[in-house]
Amino acid sequence: MGNIIEFSFMYDSFWELLQYVPITLFLAVTTMIFACVLGLLNALIQIKEIPVLKFFAHSYVLLGRAVPTMVMLYIVYFGLPVFLMAFTDKTGIDTGYQHISPIFFAIVGLTIHTGAYLSEVFRSAILSVDKGQMEAAESIGMTWWQGFYRIVARQAGVFAVPLLANQFLDLIKGTSLVFTITVVELLGGAKIACADDYRYLERYLVVALIYWGISIIFEKLFLLAERKVGIFQKGI
């Protein structure tokens, strides 16, 4: 073998592996959407101090952030079917747990993980808005929800965007773990292809480059978004 790194092979496998990028992005985007909902709800529960739920929200944030993603994925992957099986047996409602695609477990696992982090992001963002804003909104007759949606959430958004961007970039990198629960995404695809010809160096280099490219692209996009959201902050 003459060449140390064969660039033509890298070029070929780049196009080969590019077909897995949509799966990686699909995982990341879907998880982000669900995790945003979960995180926002969780943050609101903590801020509004809803009695019993507050306790659950707080423990979720603590535990969700302490458990590694990998462990979380495995717990969901092995635990959810058992849970659904028990549910089916006890109630007789068929949940079809035998036919759930592993991508569903991947999304659930990643959502639980990311949701805990996002909950803290949203909480700190909402708390960063001056208390007087909400009081002013309530003083002119808005309800709490109106005040939150029209006044507080928009200002909190400016604070939250960079943090959300960080979390999303982390999530894209986090999706590389789901091949362990048999979802074939970018890294999984590379691993399968490697099993054929044992050319690890070039192929993993390509995978790394693709992830790097994705990260850089999203970083730039989020910078644009940050500027757009922060536009009315200029005067301050």
Partner: protein, 227 residues
Amino acid sequence: MATYFDFSYMIKSFPTIISYIDITLLITFVAVVIGIALGSIIAIIRINKVKVLYQIAGIYISFMRGTPFLVQLFLCYFGLPELLQKLGVQDIRNVPALFYVMLVFSLHVGAYSSEIMRSAILAIDKGQIEAAYSIGMGNIRAYQRIVLPQAFSLAIPSLTNTVISTLKGTSLVFNVGVIDMMRKADLMGAYSQRNLELYIDVAIIYILLCYIFSKISQIIEKRASYV
């Protein structure tokens, strides 16, 4: 009908799983020590804009932060021996997997902590280093005695975050054949078919470790603050 969740099995296997904690702690320790040292050096290089090294450091940090840890691990574990073999080094098979894991982890922590150290060093008033120069200290001495100690005490909370994420990252090393808690849980699960209980054991251990680490950092933070 078997039970869905065997609580007694979970308790029973807990000691077996926790006995593999040493490998997790060893990897974390080595990675953090080497990584923070590397990170500090890179931070100083980037602040002082050392020629050539400055550009290399920029690319290194961008790469390490832009690619998933697992990809880096695979690249190093599978790719490096291949590269070395092509270069003519043959006894590469004797190198234990743990070596690659520690190498990648150190580089990974190095990239993340260099950003932390950079902001911490920049947060130190410029007058400090000027004062150090004025009493005749050299560059290295000024950093070693004046700037870095202050920067470290500022950086403790962020470095703790890195330490904890490193700790959590060790749950990935079973992918390259290092036998840690995850691998042990996997092996035991293959035998008993009770993976869930075993992984919950692992989760409990990680939660405890995170808790202990954050407590330790709080104590250090209190001790180390110069303010």
